[in-house]
Amino acid sequence: MRISRKKRLLIGLVLVISMLAMPSAQSLPGGISGVQESGCNCHGAVPSDSVAGSIEGLPDSYNYSEVYNLTLSFEGGPSQPGNVNQGGFHLWASEGELSILDATTQLYNANEVGHTEAGNDQTSWDVIWTAPATDRNVEFVLHVNSVNGNADGAGGGTSGDMWSKVSVSLGGPIEILEAADPFVVLGVLILVTFSLLVITLAYVFYRKDPDSFDWDNFSPWLADWLTTTDHKKIGTLYFVAGLFFLGVGGIMAMIIRIQLSVPGNDFLTQDQYNQFFTLHGTTMIFLAAMPMINGFANWMIPLQLGAADLALPRINAMSFWLQPFAALLIFTGVFSGHGADTGWTGYAPYSVSEATHSGTTMWAAGQILLVASSTLTGINFLTTMAVMRAPGMGWMQMPLFSWSILVANVMLFLSIPAFGVGLIQVYLDRVIGTAFYDIAAGGDPLLWSHLFWYFGHPEVYVVIVPSFGIISEVIATSSRRSVFGYRSMVYALAGIGVVAFIVYGHHMFTSGMSPTLRFVTMLTTMLVAVPTGIKIFNWLMTMHGGSLVYRTHTLWALGFLVTFTLGGISGMFFPSIAMDTHLHESYFVVAHFHYVLVGGTVFGFFAGIYYWWPKATGKMLSEKLGVLHFLTAFVSYNALFWPMHRLGVWGMTRRHHTYFVTTEEALGSLPMEAAGWNMFITVSGFIFFFSNFILVFNMIVTSIRGQDAPDDPWGGWSFEWMTSSPPPAHTQYKLSDGTWGLPTLEDANEHIANEPGVMGRWFQRLMVSDEESEGASN
């Protein structure tokens, strides 16, 4: 019975929505017959082209309750000066109130007005229209008669007379779009997403055991999830949070794209636009990308190392639970329209000025919590990887994904205190009035840029490096061979990790920083291309030497290679100071970092999701849907971001709420084609946005009726494929002798372990391998 009630509810809901969506049916009450009844009866049966009526005095859009003088007139037809009668009219307005000025017109009701006998001898009449007090679309219908004045009948002659009809529709003031206030849109969408999440949660629980679907069973189940210290469950929570905010950030991106789809658009005001791009950046980096990385790391690091859990499970749970509350703080103020409006970089001194919204304080506070969370995560993962590798697994036998997480966490961990201190400075400046960034007191806004980018540049590598790791795993497995040049891959990763700290100045080339530092960071930034290039060529060589199996995750990895390389190439424009000065703050920059962050990070995540989903859930994802997802997303993604390069070169600036196009060669305006490209980008953006629902659909459908996954569906070699799918809470691995327990790494990477290079020998001296230390103690 429950289901049928649900169905009835659903049908009812659909009906209500469709009724709301239907246009309100209105028709002309008086119509032509009304005109005829009012005296100008039967002036011809059909409308005539030769009569042209007009309504003057109407604005393009009305202001609320304003009074307008309308002049109704016509030309043409048989009407001649000197005729006894010349013509008449009938005006109907769907909204507002009509009233009359003099005796030549008469009022039928508030919506209809016509001429009187006294006004019979004119071709133009004046009436008054009072605009409605709320936002409406107003229709005006004017009928005009042009008469020849012959009196061949009791009611006045009608032969030879002509008439015509004019319709005018009118919108409300510009603010009428406030009816669709973007914040309300965002809020509603977030709430809808959240409700869907809750419904899904209830449904997942229902599916687990339909017979015990009640609160008594639900609350312990929920409490278990809320208080878990199991790395797998926390990893899942990270994923849920990450995907949720990926959706929220995506919605914000779509609202931004609606605003930019046509030049001079007013969907978002400047103020709203500032908040939207600020929160879009913050959400995507800190609330979507980082939790997803932590989700992967939580799930896979202990499994890949052959450990039972992370080193500090409770710290792990704490670093997750700091995130939702941080997110709450960051979003505080959005719903009242006072969210942070500083950009995700939060540049001082604007971020400490009183001109910013009060939400900026909360934004800083929320980020401080995220810093705390990241610090705890960093401690946890670094410790885990340092101490919990399986016996036999030296540093150089760690899977590349583990290496990438190690490097990412080292970078994050060592750089984020700078950001935290900077945020605390901003927070204190805003709350208790310290003077770190008070220019009048000698404060130096560049200090914030330094502290922020000291963290910020490693941070963007933090979000890309785990993708490198995932791609390495996926490509090696799909090529059915070990990755080419493992050792050089590790050194390249470590190199990226170290270089990340000395390149950050390239974000500040135009800020008036020390010229020496500018020069240094120019050189080091160019250096970044070297380790990254090594990685790209190693991946290509891996495929070259292997035989590639095209699965969904392989496709994403290949897509990653294309888009990331393109993004990397566009990135090489910026280290050159002169070029950077030219392209700075343009859409070229936007195109570049979306190419690496979406095409790199997000594609890597998708590859990882398709790759590890069977291991984590025990269900296979549908390959058909996966390929469909890849194709639509890859095409629409490129259509979305590639034209932005062009817009940037044309001079379209980022962080501006709108733009203008012109045919003239004027400074600060764009050529006419820019409008078309922007519309194209918006459409592609929506396709990209919705294409990702294929993944969500895929996840839902396959977890209900997908195939069960084998332990090792792809033929991967690392430890995570040795356990069952899904793995038990305290991971047990299937050992070579058939028993279950914690594994030991035997004969892995034998050839690599036996050929240390110069750097390798140096490293080996630092990091004594197990065999040697055992030999020493024996």
Partner: protein, 120 residues
């Protein structure tokens, strides 16, 4: 735990005495009139003080880290010292890039970096 002795005495006590003495020297260095020394070296008193303070801070730092924090003399000391020294490079970078780049850089560009100086 310490498995060694300093001058035949308990290391913690010795370390403690040493730290006390060094701190006393610091306080005295600030209080004392070093103008004479400064002039003989052709610099200001402040600079002399700064040098003394920096030079004394280093052994104090090492003494606390090595003896109280057991970075010397334990079986795990070697690797933990490496761990502790790991951020050194990053600290150096931050001090150089953030701490010591001049805030007024834009208005105090060197001559060769200013417009109109291309021909030299």
């Amino acid at each position: 735990m310490a498995h060694y002795k300093i001058l035949g005495q308990d290391p913690y006590w010795m370390n403690f005495y040493g730290l006390m003495i060094l701190t006393l020297i610091e306080v005295l260095a600030v209080g004392a009139d070093l103008n004479g020394v400064a002039e003989s070296l052709g610099t200001e008193e402040k600079v002399i003080t700064l040098w003394i303070l920096t030079i004394i801070a280093i052994p104090k730092f090492i003494m606390i880290a090595a003896i109280f924090m057991h970075l010397y003399g334990d079986e795990d000391s070697g690797i933990l010292t490496l761990t502790a020294l790991f951020p050194a490079f990053f600290i150096l970078i931050m001090v150089l890039f953030v701490g010591l780049t001049h805030p007024n850089a834009a208005s105090s560009l060197p001559d060769w970096c200013r417009p109109g100086n291309y021909g030299l």
